[in-house]
């Protein structure tokens, strides 16, 4: 992985090529992480993929996370990998929670990394993150007519309560 000075150099060069692209850097459990501005995500990924000396050409995983109640609420993680050096770098796009009724949006990186196609669909399916420019943005695992974004933290997990003697009265006529 890039060590702390290496990560700072990456952040600095990125900020020089595309202003305000990197919002922060940190190391965690032996993993380097760049927090980037979601509007600049394609610049950052493209730079990391193509620049000689960086060449993070393999996108190992793309996944989203919901940091409720923190703000910015959503994070889309790109686990980049440089295969010859066996270096992993996490790029995290921090997405603010949009106004009511709207979905957070982010540029799709399918052009850069074709592997992201299914994984962006998955992030859309479960978190309602819209990837602008995705060729076929539909639900992938949930049914097509499903309403809601099930893996958001404020989405109830559902299920039926198990009836014991102590909560029998809370679910009247449970035997029906």
């Amino acid at each position: 992985l890039p060590d702390a000075p290496g990560l700072e150099l990456i952040a600095q060069e990125l900020n020089e090529t595309s202003s305000d692209s990197v919002l922060g850097t940190y190391h965690e459990h032996g993993q380097a992480c760049l927090v980037v501005n979601p509007d600049r995500i394609l610049d950052v990924l493209g730079w990391l993929k193509e620049t000689p000396g960086q060449e993070y050409r393999f996108l190992a995983s793309l996944h989203a996370a919901d940091y409720l109640p923190a703000e910015p609420r959503f994070g889309v993680h790109y686990e980049l990998l440089n295969m010859p050096r066996v270096e992993r770098l996490r790029v995290k796009a921090a997405l603010a929670s949009p106004p009511d009724g709207e979905l957070p949006e982010l540029d799709s990186c399918v052009e850069l990394f074709p592997t992201a196609e299914f994984q962006e669909r998955e992030a859309y399916d479960f978190f309602g993150i819209v990837f602008r420019g995705h060729p076929d943005l539909r639900r992938i695992l949930m049914p097509e007519d499903y309403v809601g974004w099930p893996q958001r933290r404020d989405y109830p997990i559902g299920g039926e309560p198990v009836i014991f003697t102590y909560n029998e009265r809370e679910t009247p006529r449970w035997w029906e």
Binding site: E28, A60, V86, R139, L141, I157
Partner: protein, 423 residues
């Protein structure tokens, strides 16, 4: 079959004769004969034995040639990732085992590794070796099921029985060491649940002595089967660069000639101490994928033998009472052990806030696990990067402009597990 007949078969199955002209060339000739052929859309699956689960493929056919293909999945989605958010860390383990139901040890391993990294917990060497042994047995098991079902798809019925005979022996070994044949819940955060019982090492050695000759038998059956050779050679070739762009890992990538194996490049558990080779292919067709997997099975046997030879003595689970259950015998004598036991079972341990992504080499490629901890006893997010899910994107490239029959072959050699794809 007499020796003469066998030689004749081998001569007739030389590569150039088998491959002949590509499907595209052959259809182009036919297209001149029948220019009015229309595109037809058909569904393969979701209930089709050759889809290895509940996968639906929407295929655009021109005559018998695949012109477009879209996988549709989600039929066995059970919301495992969402459910994990409602479970204490140690209760997640049996859940995630059931995703990719052929490589349950790997699912456990990657989740335990992620949590151990969050906790900065060291695994004792004996546990690392026991985990390695069980994972490699699991790799054998997974490849055996793949070989049996794939050969069945291609019409070799007997392979299925031979492979399931050996698979049963692996399951017997699992039953002996863990108490369960499948979904064993053997790996724990901090080590393994129990030491191996007396007699397990001897049974495992017997199995390891026998297995290479069994692999020879499989190859003797399939490598001289003209139907198998004709259906796999030169079919489903995707260039290495394209596979890397599509994020494909595991035997599919190695068959295309890229020697990428996480056990070698980023060793975890005991793999750093053990000697093994990474088999790679040259052409990247279905036949190479088959050869790479069979060679991997031989390497797995080697790894198990070495790990068993070098199995260190000592504890098999970490001695951290805040995370690991105390030994059963202590409960009746030590009050503290009882308190720890009670706290761990009712509430579970807490992991410090943070996020971690860990990847290991499963039988199908890079199996990644992302865990986001918020400081409570339950993970705030668990995500699995399942290799089948990502590898499935390569199916379109493999099948385009090939025959429908080759689609079945490509899917068989891709080895998707729908439990892992849908999670």
């Amino acid at each position: 079959m007499s020796t003469v007949g066998r030689r004749e078969t081998l001569e007739r199955t030389e590569a150039d004769q088998v491959v002949g002209r590509s499907a595209v060339e052959r259809t182009e000739v036919e297209e001149q004969l029948e220019p009015e052929q229309e595109l037809m859309t058909i569904n393969v699956g979701p209930h089709h034995p050759a889809t290895h689960g509940v996968l639906r493929l929407v295929v655009e056919l021109q005559g018998e040639v695949v012109r477009d293909l879209k996988p549709v999945m989600g039929y066995v989605h059970t919301g495992i990732e969402k459910n994990c958010e409602d479970k204490a860390y140690w209760k997640v383990i049996p859940y995630v085992e059931r995703m990719d139901y052929l490589s349950y040890f790997f699912n456990m391993e990657v989740f335990c590794l992620a949590v151990e990294r969050l906790l900065d917990l060291e695994v004792p060497p004996r546990a690392a070796y026991l985990r390695t042994i069980h994972m490699e047995l699991n790799r054998l098991h997974s490849h055996l099921v793949w070989l049996g079902t794939s050969a069945l798809d291609l019409g070799a019925m007997s392979m299925f029985f031979y492979c399931f005979r050996e698979r049963d022996k692996v399951l017997d070994l699992f039953e002996m060491s863990t108490g369960q044949r499948m979904h064993t819940r053997y790996f724990q955060v901090g080590g393994v649940f129990e030491d191996i019982p007396p007699g397990f090492a001897a049974a495992l050695r017997r199995f390891c002595d026998e297995m290479p000759s069994r692999i020879d038998q499989y190859m003797a059956i399939l490598d001289q089967n003209e139907i198998f050779l004709r259906r796999t050679r030169g079919v489903g070739i995707v260039p290495r660069e394209r596979l890397l762009d599509l994020g494909v890992t595991g035997p599919l990538l190695r068959a295309a000639g890229e020697p990428w194996d996480l056990r070698k490049v980023a060793p975890y558990e005991a793999y750093g101490d053990l000697g093994f080779a990474i088999p790679v292919g040259t052409v990247g067709d279905g036949y190479d994928r088959y050869r790479v997997r069979l060679a991997e099975m031989r390497e797995s046997v080697r790894i198990i033998e070495q790990a068993l030879e070098g199995l260190p003595e000592g504890p098999w689970i970490a001695d951290d009472r805040k995370v690991v259950l105390p030994p059963r015998a202590e409960l009746s004598t030590s009050m503290e052990a009882l308190i720890h036991h009670f706290k761990l079972v009712t509430e579970g341990f807490r992991a410090p806030p943070g996020e971690v992504y860990v990847a290991i080499e499963s039988p199908r490629g890079e199996l990644g696990c992302f865990v986001l901890a918020d400081g409570s006893a339950k993970p705030a997010r668990v995500h699995f990067r399942d290799p089948s899910f990502v590898n499935l994107q390569a199916l379109r490239d493999m099948c385009l402009d090939g025959y429908v029959a080759d689609l079945i072959q490509n899917l068989a050699m891709l080895d998707p597990i729908l439990g892992g794809i849908d999670r």
